[in-house]
Point group: C2
Chain length 447, copies 2
């Protein structure tokens, strides 16, 4: 199939992106969220969408619908962005889309306004190529709270399941690797953040009294050391019981993932890895992980202070895989600490957790995404059964019963969430082409 000429749609899409980047929709600071929702609504209405706006906790949630056909595609994106600070590190104004050497810089250029604008451009192109109508039903959920943890989303998806029902969901991100290959993700890990706390006294003591008074930082060290082994495996009894065995397709996909993580190690100057070669991808895609995010207590200044601290804390996050349940893991953690004699170590869940989700690579919708990616990019996609990261994918899978596939236009140097966020112009164009290929493929071969 010859590649369609999408030049005009790409330019129009970049114009939309310029307008979107100019709207300072920083959800963490409550900036310009209704204005941005209204602007997105106008863009969608102009393409024949009916748009319903619902109040979220921080910003409106939009549900748009257009088109007709036996296939239904759900798209998920967000119109909010991360704060732009530190401002002084930007080489051009964060809210002015600026092109330099083939890259387009601006806050949200990649995450997630670039994705949104490229998808809208693809829909325009498909309409034009189909006589002004969309040959499939497109439902589009666009929220404005993703960068503050999507506090309204799980409940919203549950309550609006009928409006969102579809054959599959096109997730809000995805990337293109340095060799130009599309990188897809079929799942996200769950995440649960907890703090372990220990106190041995009402106030700090002189450390000579450590002879007779226990030490809260030692107690926490015992706790943390008991949770995993040197290879990164968790040692909480029962922790792996609910881990779904990887499917044949998962394992086959992981086996085909290129590289061993060297670019990551180079980028961050990593000196201690837990996995290289095959294990690198298996652990990132399929294994749950325990992280120690931070540790505090006692004297942390220069030199020494012979103090016995009254208390201390450790912050942890658990990255979970299907079908682990955060509430169950919390129970297992408590039982394990108790069994270790660490009943005095308090466990506090820090904020709402997210459950893991992962699609079956053999699902027709996933296969359609892979085929569309291969066609649009001229290269077989790199398919990750799961991202190592987390997000609100679970309610889509659980309430709507659909697979979610992340396919998008971010790049390894895209500085998402950081100064000088960017996409490649070429990747934006590829994203439009992928959208056209996906929509037309779904319309032609409904699930």
């Amino acid at each position: 199939m010859a590649q369609p000429d999408l030049t005009a749609h790409i330019e129009r899409g970049l114009s939309d992106l310029r307008d979107l980047v100019a709207l300072e929709s920083v959800s963490a600071q409550g900036r310009m969220l209704p204005e941005t929702a209204a602007f997105v609504t106008r863009l969608l209405v102009a393409e024949g969408f009916t748009v319903r706006s619902y109040p979220g906790q921080v910003a409106p949630v939009l549900v748009a619908e257009a088109g007709e056909g036996s296939a239904t595609l759900l798209i998920y994106n967000h119109y909010d962005v991360q704060p732009e600070d530190p401002l002084e590190l930007w080489q051009s104004p964060p809210f002015v889309l600026t092109e330099r050497e083939g890259r387009l810089y601006g806050r949200g250029a990649s995450d997630d306004k670039g994705e949104l604008a490229s998808r809208l451009a693809a829909i325009r192109a498909v309409r034009e190529r189909n006589g002004g109508t969309l040959p499939l039903r497109v439902r589009w959920l666009i929220e404005g709270e993703e960068e503050v943890g999507s506090p309204s989303l799980e409940r919203f998806v549950e309550e609006h399941a009928e409006e969102l029902r579809a054959d599959g969901c096109w997730w809000e991100f995805g990337s293109i690797d340095p060799e130009g290959r599309p990188v897809l993700y079929l799942g996200l890990k769950g995440v649960m953040c907890v703090e372990l706390r220990c106190r041995v006294a009402a106030s700090d003591l002189h450390s000579s009294l450590g002879a007779v008074v226990d030490n809260p930082l030692y107690r926490l060290a015992r706790a943390v050391a008991s949770l995993r082994d040197d290879a990164g495996g968790l040692t909480i009894p029962g922790f792996y019981d609910d881990v779904r065995p990887p499917s044949e397709a998962d394992l086959a996909a992981v086996a085909q993932l290129p590289g061993d993580g060297q670019p990551l190690r180079d980028t961050y100057g990593v000196t201690r890895t837990l996995a290289t070669s095959r294990a690198y991808h298996e652990r990132l895609n399929l294994q749950p992980v325990l992280n120690v995010n931070g540790w505090g207590g006692g004297y942390e200044g220069e030199g020494s202070k012979t103090v016995l601290p009254a208390h201390g804390f450790v912050k942890l996050d658990f990255r979970l895989v299907p079908d682990q349940d955060p509430a169950r893991v919390l129970e297992l953690l408590r039982a394990h600490l108790d069994a270790q004699g660490l009943t005095d170590v308090e466990v506090v869940e820090l904020e709402a957790h997210q459950k893991p989700a992962r699609a079956d690579a053999a699902h027709p919708f996933v296969q359609a995404c892979m085929a569309a990616a291969a066609a649009a990019h001229g290269a077989e996609p790199i398919v990750n059964p799961s991202s190592g990261g987390s997000g609100p994918m679970y309610p889509f899978q659980a309430c709507l019963g659909v697979p979610c596939v992340a396919a998008g236009i971010s790049n390894i140097g895209g500085r998402v969430h950081a100064p000088n966020e960017n996409i490649l112009r070429e990747h934006f164009a590829r994203g439009v082409a992928f959208g056209v290929a996906l929509l037309e493929r779904l319309a032609a071969n409904p699930a």
Copy 2:
């Protein structure tokens, strides 16, 4: 023996103390140190001492000598004090000795100007009672750097051993318990402060990458958890090899120590003890200890942050007992971490260590101190083979070959190093009486 009437000497001693407290000799801030050394020199010269002043690193070191006889007593004190802040918590000006309800408040009232003034008053009384001469040789080392770790002292004692030679050393502190019993200490633990450091990358990473990059705070937890057991015993191989078995006299003294630490637990609101009853005193007096003083790394703010920190650190102190050597313990620690596979955990000694020292309770000088305490206080002394704390006692024992006995006038509510530092007026008087008893006993029964 009838108690001598020391009223006039006690009043004169309190007058000296008032003058001493008025001198703001804060060694950490280099305030009024030469002035205070000069004032102390004038006080000593007025009592017939010859005084030599030597430059220290921060303040002059004074060596005074007076009296003649076959007995020689070495006294060790210091004229510097801790900073007075936080000033707003003082109920009277820190550098004005102020009496309220039987207590004398002021910075240094206890540590160590109260000790110094009461000892000088005792020497005056003994001279007066002996026709204007001292019936024994008194050598008095008074430094001005104790509150900044006595950086000059070990070398000074080595180089001036001949000037300091004596039958025994009266150490700079000691206390009187709430029942009025004198509390003596025959030793001090050594101390070595180290920092463990671990780094896994050049910069922080997103915690999703914890699947493939190791965690420095976990590595440190493994290290710390491997150093001791839940009962507080150290688990570094070879750590106890050089621990001198307690003597019969040590064990007998510990067996007679009253209480089980309940006042300590009440004062600090302790909820996790390592020892009560007999074990309480055994651990405080005779056992080495590992403390975790502080722990830092990664995100320590409110809530969670899903970061994988690039590095972290833990601060430790080891309290050592005779005949443990800090340099040897450092070697054993390194070897242990290596054997645990923790070669990446760096060990950094934070500052100069102090070696442990402990006198034999059966030594005639120790017995003389105990007898003098019993006579002056009208109560058998509580004899601790060692304090749980540390100080520069080792060079006195090692270079001069003398036992050191801490006998003094601090009280459990004395707030040493804190606002509203105080002594009881009654304890000051008791201190003078003890000094008289000790000097006259040593003069009458030379070693």
